[in-house]
Amino acid sequence: MKTTVPRRLPRRGWQLFAASALLILCAALLGNRADATEAAAGVRTVDQDVQALKKELVDLNRDLFRLEEELLYPASTQVAVFLSLNVGTFFALDSVRLELDGKEVSNYLYTEREVAALHRGGVQKLYLGNLKAGEHELVAVFTGKGPHDRDYRRGTTVKFEKAIGAKYVELRITDRDSALQPEFAVRQWE
């Protein structure tokens, strides 16, 4: 009578099989990882390219804006009016009307967000234009809510001399604590 003995791999065979399987697994994992790294590097490169392109576009836009400003408002005739707010407890700004030599050049309504930006230290370019050299008159009319939430409207007039260079005028709204009133000051730069 013939008996069948189950075939068993020798111990050494098992070890070889396990080592091979492990090697294949490692190779597969490493391969995947390499692919992923390559893909990530590719994405990063594209992303960097896009970012670089965006930066170039922003720079180009800035240069174009400067060029346009230089062409439209040459330094010899340029006049710019800025507005800033310092504290502003006694005055809630609503609008500013600007007249240059009797002609209205700007009438600006301020939203809550814009007033908040001015409160945080923002300076607004209210007007940019051209003027010939000589004496000029600037009238700024501020409207808003004054102390005790009353409607408040006040005008400031300033005469200035425009020379050959660009002229910058800053309208500054500050609080006069002693009088519990707002104060409207004008500063000039050449």
Binding site: D94, S95, Y108, L109, Y110, T111, E112, R113, E114
Partner: protein, 178 residues
């Protein structure tokens, strides 16, 4: 001889005048389109403006960048405008059509605008353009005028003379880029 000289000089002068006039006309033709303010068309950036609303708050169009805007020009004397205003309100109330609505009244009398807006129960800002400066900026020829402005501030649709049904507005809002 002297007569010939004078005639030649006169001809030369006439030719110079004609040349100057032609150059001026050409310059006018070329420069006018650049200086003239064109009404906003589909695909152009909606001109920015700031106006007071009925509650006295100042509203600026550019502060709604990032949101789709349904801008409706209307007046109290315009019957179909009421329907246009209600359509805009119904469209922006739809959850699947995220947008804000703004109405711009061209009434010279703010009280009349307030009365109509109140009677319609509008839930969105009604801006007052009594001076019609924004009306001129948008070259409003027919009322109602409804513009759909996308998140980047570009005009995507314009409907003039008749109210747009709310469903049409909703459809167009949904089709805007997310």
């Amino acid at each position: 001889m002297d007569f010939c000289d004078r005639a030649a000089r006169a001809r030369l002068k006439a030719r110079a005048h004609t040349t100057v006039l032609a150059a001026a006309a050409l310059a006018g033709v070329l420069v006018y389109p650049m200086l003239a303010k064109a009404a906003p068309a589909v695909g152009t950036v909606a001109p920015d403006f700031a106006l007071k609303d009925l509650s006295g708050r100042n509203q600026r169009l550019s502060e709604f960048r990032g949101e789709a805007v349904v801008l409706t020009f209307w007046a109290s004397y315009c019957g179909p405008c009421r329907s246009a205003l209600q359509s805009a309100g119904a469209a922006v109330a739809d959850r699947d059509a995220p947008a804000v609505a703004l109405g711009v009244s061209l009434d010279r009398d703010n009280d009349r605008a307030a009365s109509v807006a109140g009677s319609l129960g509008l839930s969105y800002p009604s801006l007052l353009d009594a001076g019609q400066s924004v009306g001129r900026l948008y070259d409003v020829q027919h009322l109602p005028l409804t513009l759909l402005i996308d998140r980047t501030g570009t005009v995507r649709q314009i409907w003039a003379s008749e109210p747009v049904p709310a469903e049409v507005l909703i459809q167009h809002i949904r089709e805007l880029d997310p």
